[in-house]
Structures are given as C-alpha cells and as structure tokens.
C-alpha cells in the first residue's frame, strides 16, 4: 500500500482575473522508503506541489491521502497536529530558530509533541550524531555554516519520527562539498532507516542520487522515472 496517494490534485491561483494552474490534476503515489526528486524549470509548480503535499497550502481540488487519511479533509487544528506528527520539512534557506542552539532546534518539535526530557535528549543526541554534528550541539545557527545548518534542519525534520520528509530545494544555498555531504546523510538515513524523502530540486547532483525522478512542467507531471 502506498504511503501517499495523490488524486487529481489541482491548485489554481486567481490573481487580477487571470487564472494560473500551478498544479494541474496530478495523480501520483509514493511508497514507503522512496528517495524521490521532483524536478522541473522555475514556475513548473514544484514548490506548490510540495506545499499541497505537506498540508501547508490548500488545493483547489483533489485529494492527498497519507496512510489512509485525506489530509485536506482534516480541520485546521488536526491538520497542524498531523503535520507535526507525520511530516518532516526541510526548507531551502534552513529556517532554523536563530535564538536556539542546534540541540534546542532539534528538540523543539518534540517539545510541541509533549515528549519527555529523557526521550528528547536521547533522540536529539542520536539525530545530531547521525548528521555528523555531535560536536556542535550547543552552537547557534549563526555559528554554523550553511551546510551544517541544513544538516541540523534534516535532524529537526526527523525528530518527530515523521512518515516522510519533504525538502524544498535543500541544496540550493549550499556549495558542492556541503551538497555532497548532505546528500550522503539523507541517502544513508533513507537506506538504513527506510525514511521516505521527497525533494524538489534543480541540482543535477541531487537528481543523480535520487531513486525516482518526477519531472513537472506547467503544473503537470511530464515524466516519472525510477533509476
């Protein structure tokens, strides 16, 4: 059974009397443990698609079913809780909380989930070790490089034990060494812990690592290749 089922997903922006179909009737399924890249030129609808998938932006029509739950039929508060407990996010510009240390950033979501301190400490330590930042747990984001910040963001996304992680152009602001490093970590987590990653990207190095490449143009899927 698919972890995510997308049925006829459509998002129409209506600005100044001009309708723009950012996402146009997409049908797609994702299986547990996939490492999938969504590619396409700017304006092809990649980010909008990820926002719809992650419950951040509401579709004009269609369904996003995660483990049997149509997330867009959930009430606002339940949708927020669903995001918190089942979906991990990695953003292009890291978006860590600047006043918190790496450790605090990772454990923040577990705080929201109401996990015990013992559990938080253990999971934070485990995750920061997994992303190679065990020695920087007390550093604030402004003391970390872009690559390090994005690794903290990956650890944060994993902290809530989500069903899948959505990453919107996670390497766009990174140099090639940091990109390589981050991709290795994500791939390792996918391979060893069967974590599902779905990311949008322009980056050929990311595409090369992906097991499945979905290409979008004008809000539609134009190809879906497993490699």
């Amino acid at each position: 059974m698919s972890i995510i089922e997308i049925k006829n997903l459509t998002k129409i922006y209506d600005g100044a009397g001009l309708e723009v179909k950012a996402v146009n009737g997409i049908y797609l399924n994702f299986e547990k443990g996939e490492f999938a890249a969504i590619v396409g030129p700017s304006g092809s609808g990649k980010t909008t698609f990820l926002n719809l998938l992650g419950g951040l932006d509401s579709p004009t029509s269609g369904e996003v079913i995660v483990d049997g739950v149509d997330i867009w039929k959930l009430r606002s508060r339940k949708l927020i809780n669903f995001r918190m407990n089942h979906i991990g996010f990695v953003f292009q510009s890291y978006n860590l909380i600047p006043v918190l240390t790496a450790k605090e950033n990772v454990e923040f979501i577990m705080h929201l989930q109401g996990r015990s301190k013992r559990e938080r400490d253990a999971r934070t330590k485990e995750l920061l070790q997994a992303v190679g930042l065990a020695d920087r747990i007390n550093s604030r984001p402004n003391k970390l490089s872009g690559g390090q910040q994005q690794r903290v963001a990956v650890a944060r996304a994993l902290a809530s034990k989500p069903k899948f992680i959505l990453a919107d152009e996670p390497t766009a602001n990174l140099d090639s060494k940091s990109t390589e490093n981050l991709l290795d970590i994500m791939e390792k987590l996918n391979r060893e812990e069967n974590i599902t990653f779905i990311f949008s990207t322009h980056d050929a190095r990311v595409v090369k690592k992906a097991h499945r490449v979905i290409t979008m143009e004008d809000g539609k899927i134009v190809s879906d290749v497993t490699q």
């Binding site: 951040l56 927020i80 918190m84 923040f108 929201l112």
Partner: protein, 405 residues
C-alpha cells in the same frame, strides 16, 4: 521552551529592545516617584493638620461649631478630660477655650481665633512648643502671655514682649478687653493658620470672658496612632453620647477626600504614562512580527499551532514590558526611598506651598500596595500591547509566510 524562545527573542535586537526598556523604565520610575512625592506631601499635610490643628479627635458642645457661641461650652470639661486621659492609647488631652475675637497692636488689628490652653496639657496634643521660632513656650512673661504666629506678628508689626490687646464679647455679651504680651512667635507650614490663631493660657482668657474655670469649648485628643482613632472615639461616645465627638476626618472631610482624590489622580497619571508607552510597545512588536514572518511561517509549518504562536508573541511583549516595568518600579522606589529621609526642597515656591498649608520640604512616602498595583498595570499593558501584533502574526498561513523574503 516557549518562555526561553520569547526571552531570547527580546535580545535579538539589543538596541531596539534596550530603547523600549529604557522608555518604559523612565516612564514608570517617573510615575512611581511622582506618586511617592505627592503621597508624601499629602501625608505631611495630614500629619501637620493632626499635630498642629485638629488632633485625632475633638469634642464640642453639639451647637458650638455651628454658632461659635461662648456659652456653648462643655460643662463637664475638666472631669471628662481626666477620664479620657485614662483611656489606653490616648497620648494627650487638652481642654481648650475657643473664642473668635479681635487682636490689635499699636499699628493695626486683626480677627483671630483665641485658643485658651493649659500649656502642659497642650504639649501632649500639639507640636506648638516645637514650632516656636522666637521666644519661649509660655515662659518668660508672668502676666497674660500670648503665642502668635509669625504671619500675624508681621501683620501687627509686633515683636517679642510687644503688647497686644485682645477684645471679645464676654459671657454676658459685654465687650471686654485685656492686654497681653507676646511670649513667643511660632511658625507652622500653614501660613493661614499662623495668621489667624493665637494661644493664651486658659485661666487668663476664662477670667476675661467670665467663663467658669472648668469650662472648655473644645477637648482635643491625640492618640498613639491613627489605627486607634475609631476605638478611642467609640469609648468616648460611650462616656457621654450627648456631646459632638468627631475624628479628624469628620472634622475636616476635605483631608479624607484628599487621600482618595490623590490616589485617583495618581492612577490617572500612571495610566496616561502607560497609555503613551502602549503605542511605543505596539509599534516595536509590529516591527518584530513583520521582520519574522518567514520564521513564524516555519514554526506553523512544523507544527506550532496558532494559539502557541499567539502566546509566544504575547509572552515576548509581556516580558519586554515587564523588564522595563520592574526596573522602572525599582528605580522609582529606590529614588523615593532615598527621599523618604532626605527632604526635597521646594523653597522656591515656599510662599504658595505655605498658603495652601503644605510644607515646602517634602519627604516622599512609598506605598507598597501602589508599587504592586503599578507592576500589575504594566503586566496588563504588555498583554494589551501584544494583542494587535500577535493577531497580525496569525494572519499569514504557513505557505504564504514562507514565501516572504
């Protein structure tokens, strides 16, 4: 963790937060200090009225205060005075003769209130002995000594040992006059009182007015502290319910209102300060929210619900406001504490102060309840100031907020 984030967020822009905190600190400390200043001034006025003019309780014949008739004296004055002196908590009792009369010197004349006292008894009730600035308290002149205020001395152009004549209507409505010599000149903070009140020995004035020795128009009582006033008053009423027995607030209702009115003014003053600060805080927090839209979008995306975002902004505003409020209250309190023992000299305006009965040397008076109230008001200001910025923060949905650069 929300507390920790809110607290640290305040210090993200140190300069901006410090400026806001300084503004709040200055506003609140000025408010607290002004309150302590005016409370001190008012308390001094009340203390001065009690210790120099009214005492805590006065007893009169029921018709005396309305008619000021010489014949409306307390016939049991001497006996009642002795009984009252035995009540626990009573510090002093003075049986006085009070006559509206005329005093004249070689130069001019003036209408005055003659207060005939037993000098020793009067010492236990008023501070008149300490208010003497020239001469001595009923000492140095054997026959008909009189104590007059410095303002009256200036008006009559008399000095120590000068002769003055007191003219009055005696008990039989005949005009009587007697020569008195100035034994001392006193000065209280109330120049009007000094100009209109003179003290003589009760025996001297009783003889002149042909009043019986035991007669008294006014029995003034001073108790050990203000809290005992009601108890002692009730005990006296139980002794003789036919007399008019009033405490200082009943004798001078304006003094009682003064406390209430001053409290009201102080609250209005502090509310105006807080109202002005409110807009500064709202402006700052709006800037904070607008600068952090993307971050708030991220927080909502990863699972922070709107209630928690709202609480975080409110908490941040309240903490920012409270820092200024607490520092301001402490600074204002510290300053007020210092001036509780070091007088603020308002001598430049001494004439005006004195005419209104206020001492130009003001000692501040701290009211702990008021300090606590101010902090609570600051807390509420913080909460009110937070509502609009927090509401603004909730207007974005996560996807929209994350797109903002």
């Amino acid at each position: 963790m929300i507390w920790s984030i809110s607290w640290r967020n305040i210090w993200r822009n140190k300069v901006r937060s410090t400026v806001v905190i300084i503004a709040i600190t200055l506003g609140i400390s000025a408010g607290v200090f002004s309150t302590a200043f005016f409370t001190g001034m008012m308390n001094q006025r009340i203390e001065q009225v009690i210790s120099n003019e009214l005492s805590h309780i006065q007893i009169h014949h029921p018709d005396f205060r309305s008619t000021m008739e010489l014949g409306n004296y307390i016939s049991t004055g001497a006996e009642l005075t002795r009984k009252i002196a035995d009540i626990p908590g009573v510090k002093g009792v003075s049986n006085r003769i009070v006559i509206q009369s005329m005093i004249s010197s070689a130069e001019t004349a003036s209408g005055v209130k003659i207060v005939g006292v037993d000098p020793e008894d009067e010492k236990g009730v008023t501070d008149m002995e300490e208010n003497i600035i020239e001469g001595e308290y009923f000492n140095g002149i054997r026959s008909n000594p009189v104590l007059i205020g410095n303002k009256l001395a200036e008006k009559l152009k008399v000095k120590l040992r000068s002769k003055v004549v007191i003219t009055l209507q005696d008990l039989d409505n005949n005009i009587a006059g007697g020569a008195f010599r100035v034994v001392g000149i006193y000065k209280t903070p109330n120049s009007t009182y000094d100009e209109t009140t003179v003290f003589v020995r009760r025996g001297d004035i009783a003889r002149l007015a042909e009043l019986p020795d035991h007669a008294g128009h006014e029995i003034a009582i001073l108790v050990e502290n203000n809290e005992l006033v009601d108890t002692v008053q009730h005990q006296i009423i139980a002794m003789d319910g036919d007399l008019e027995i009033l405490n200082w607030k009943e004798l001078s209702p304006e003094m009682g209102y003064l406390t209430e009115v001053m409290d009201l003014y102080m609250y209005i003053f502090i509310i105006i300060i807080l109202f002005a600060l409110l807009f500064g805080i709202i402006n700052t927090m709006l800037m904070v929210v607008l600068e952090r839209v993307k971050e708030l979008g991220m927080l909502m995306a990863i699972g922070m619900n709107k209630q928690r975002v709202f609480n975080m902004i409110v908490l941040e505003t309240v903490l920012l406001t409270l820092v200024g409020g607490v520092v301001g209250t402490l600074a204002g309190s510290g300053l007020s504490k210092y001036f509780e023992t070091h007088a603020i000299d308002m001598s430049l305006w001494a004439e005006g102060y004195s005419q209104l009965g206020y001492d130009p040397r003001v000692f501040t008076s701290m009211d702990v309840n008021l300090m606590i109230t101010v902090i609570i008001m600051v807390l509420f200001t913080g909460i009110i100031a937070a509502i609009y910025p927090a509401y603004k923060a909730l207007k974005y949905d996560p996807a929209e907020a994350l797109r903002i650069e």
